[in-house]
C-alpha cells in the first residue's frame, strides 16, 4: 500500500533578517509515521516545526498539509497542534480547563467537550487531577496535561518540540514509551524535534538529521546508524572512530585503503573513489575487535582509558603515533590501564566517506 504524504515541505527557506536559518528544505512526512528532526541546538529544527504549525512564516517555498496549501494559512486554522518545549500550560487554569481550552475555542458544545475531556484524561492517566493547577502538578503530570491538551483536538499532525527535555532520565524513559503507545493507538502523525540522539533512535520511524538549516540525511534509525552518509551524521549519531585514509587501489565494489600509518585494508565501497583520493573511514566502537593476543592484521596499542557504564565498557586504545581508537565491549574487568592490546577492524563495518 502506498503511504500517503500528510505534510509536504517544498523548497522551504526561512530567513530572520539577513540570516538564512533554513536553506531550501524539501521533506515528505507520511500519514501515521513518527518522524524525528534531530540536530544540534541552533540547527533550525524548531524553526521547521514552527513553519509547519504556522507560528512562523516561510520566507520562500510551500507548506502542504493533507494536500492543501497551508503556506499562508494562520496557525489558528491549521489542523496541527504543538506540545511546546516549556509546555506553556496556562497557569491560571486547572487541568480540565487547560485541556478543554482548544475545544472551547472551536465552540464545540459543552456536553461533547465534557465527554472528550473525560476520555482524554483517562487516556493520559490524569484521573483525580482534573481540578489542579499546573503549579500543583509534578513534571510528568504537567507533561501529560500538555499532551492531552493537544491530542483532544484530534490533530492530523502532532508536533513535539523537545518535549521531554526537561524531565529526569527515569521519567523521560516512561514518557517515551507512553508517547509511542499513544502514537500507535491514535494513529496520529508525530513530528518530534530533539537534540537527544537516544530519544530519536528509540522512538522514530524515520529520522531527519538537520545541520545548518539543511537535511543531512533522512532514513530509518538503523540505516542512519549503520550507514551514515556524511561525516556530520556519523559523528552526531552514536560514537564513532573517524580515521583519515587514502585510496591505494580501486576495484569492483571494493577499494584498498591505507590508514593508521600504512595499515592496509580492503573495504566495500558503493560510491566511486579514485586512486590516491583522501577519505575518512567511520568505524563504530562496538565493531572494533580487541584482544590481548595478537590478531592477524591487527594493530598494536595500549589501553589509555576505561569508562564503565553498567551494560558496557568503553575503552580508549592508544595507537602509537596515531589517534586514540574508541572501543566498546560488553564484559568488564578484562582490561586494565596500560594493557597491551591488539585492535582489528572488520572490513564489513568500515564506512568510507568522502572528505
Amino acid at each position: 500500500m502506498e503511504k500517503k504524504v500528510l505534510v509536504k515541505l517544498e523548497n522551504v527557506s526561512k530567513s530572520f533578517g539577513s540570516v538564512e536559518v533554513i536553506k531550501n528544505i524539501s521533506l515528505d512526512i507520511y500519514e501515521g509515521e513518527f518522524l524525528t528532526l534531530l540536530g544540534p541546538s541552533g540547527c533550525g529544527k524548531t524553526t521547521i516545526l514552527r513553519m509547519i504549525s504556522g507560528l512562523d512564516d516561510v520566507t520562500t517555498g510551500k507548506v502542504y498539509i493533507d494536500d492543501k496549501d497551508m503556506t499562508n494559512v494562520d496557525a489558528t486554522k491549521r489542523e496541527v497542534n504543538t506540545i511546546f518545549q516549556n509546555l506553556a500550560l496556562f497557569p491560571k487554569m486547572t487541568t480540565k480547563e487547560n485541556i478543554s481550552f482548544g475545544l472551547k475555542m472551536k465552540k464545540v458544545d459543552k456536553a461533547e467537550i465534557d465527554k472528550r475531556v473525560d476520555e482524554v484524561i483517562k487516556l493520559v492517566k490524569l484521573q483525580g487531577f482534573e481540578d489542579r493547577y499546573p503549579s500543583e502538578l509534578s513534571g510528568g503530570q504537567q507533561q501529560r496535561v500538555a499532551i492531552a491538551r493537544s491530542i483532544i483536538m484530534n490533530p492530523k499532525v502532532l508536533l513535539l518540540d523537545e518535549s521531554l527535555c526537561s524531565l529526569d532520565l527515569k521519567l523521560k524513559k516512561d514518557m517515551q514509551i507512553e508517547l509511542k503507545r499513544l502514537q500507535k493507538k491514535l494513529g496520529i502523525t508525530f513530528i518530534y524535534v530533539t537534540h537527544a540522539q537516544d530519544e530519536a533512535l528509540s522512538m522514530s520511524d524515520r529520522i531527519a538529521i538537520i545541520n545548518n538549516g539543511a537535511i543531512e540525511q533522512l532514513d530509518t534509525p538503523s540505516n542512519i546508524y549503520k550507514y551514515p552518509k556524511t561525516l556530520f551524521v556519523a559523528d552526531f549519531i552514536g560514537e564513532a572512530n573517524i580515521i583519515n585514509a587514502k585510496v591505494l587501489e580501486v576495484g569492483d565494489n571494493e577499494i584498498k585503503v591505507s590508514m593508521l600509518q600504512d595499515h592496509v585494508v580492503d573495504i566495500k565501497a558503493d560510491s566511486i573513489f579514485e586512486k590516491n583520493q583522501e577519505l575518512k573511514l567511520v568505524i563504530r566502537p562496538e565493531n572494533v575487535r580487541i584482544s590481548k593476543n595478537e590478531l592477524a592484521n591487527g594493530i598494536k596499542g595500549s589501553i589509555n582509558d576505561i569508562t564503565y557504564s553498567g551494560d558496557s565498557t568503553k575503552l580508549l586504545v592508544n595507537i602509537p603515533g596515531s589517534i586514540d581508537i574508541k572501543v566498546c565491549i560488553n564484559d568488564d574487568n578484562k582490561y586494565v590501564y596500560n594493557d597491551e592490546v591488539y585492535v582489528k577492524f572488520d572490513s564489513n563495518y568500515i564506512i568510507p566517506l568522502r572528505k
Binding site: 507560528l55 489558528t76 504543538t82 511546546f84 506553556a88 497557569p91 481550552f101 475555542m105 500543583e136 483536538m153
Partner: protein, 260 residues
Amino acid sequence: MKHKLLKNLFILLVFFFLYLPIIVLIIYSFNSSSMNILFENFTFKWYIELFKNNDLIMSFVNTLIVALTSTIISTIIGTISAYGLYKFDFPLKKLINSLIYIPIVIPEIVLGISLLSIYTLMKLELGMFTIILSHIAFSIPFVIVSVRSALSSETVYYEEAAKDLGASNFKIFKDIILPVIMPGVVSGAILAFTLSLDDVVISYFTAGPGSNTLPLYIYSMIKTGITPDVNALTTIMLTITFITLTSIAVIQSRKIRKRI
C-alpha cells in the same frame, strides 16, 4: 537573645514612627476641643458635624468621582498600552518605552502648569472634566510600568500555545494574558487610585469652580485652621481602606488555601 531584643525594638520604633501620626489623628477625631492641641473629652460631635458640612461632603464626593473614573480609564488604557508595547515591534519603540518614565519623574508642579496651559490653549473650561483628564494622564505611566512587570517572556509561550489551539487574538488576551497579568493590573489600579485620591498639586492647577476635591479643601483650610471634622472624615476613610485591604487579603489567602 539580646540581639533579638534589639531587632524587635527596632521594628517597634519603625512602626511607631510610621503609625503614630495616624493614631494621633484618630484619637483627636474624638476630641471635644476644636483645637488639635489638647485632648479634653471624648465625643462623637465631629462625626455629626461632618455630615452637616456640605462643602466637605461635596469635596469628598468629588474626590471619589475623580479617583474612580480616572482609575478605571487609566487602568484600561495603561494595560492595553503595556501589552501593545510588549507584544509589537514598531519604529521608535525604545524611545517610547523610555518616554513613559518622564511623567513619573517630572515634578508634579511642572506637569500641573503644562496641563493648565494646554487646557487654556484648547479653551477647555476648568472643572471636574479637566481634573479627571489630568489624573488619567499622570496615572497611565504608573499602570503601564506596573503591568509591564507582570508580562514576562513566559507570556509569549502562553500566547503561542493558545494560538496553536485556535484562539483568536481577543480570546488570547481575555482568557490567557489578562489572568496572568492581573496582579500587575490590580496593583497598577490601586496605585492610580491612591495617587488620584491624595493629589493636591495637579488638581490645584486644573480645578475650576465647583470642582473642589478633598485634598484641595483641606489644603485651603490651612489658612483658617483645620477643623476636627476633617479628622473625623479621614478616620472614616482610613477605616474603609483598612476593611477593604483586609478583606482582599483574607479572600486571597483563602483562595490559596483552597488550592492546596
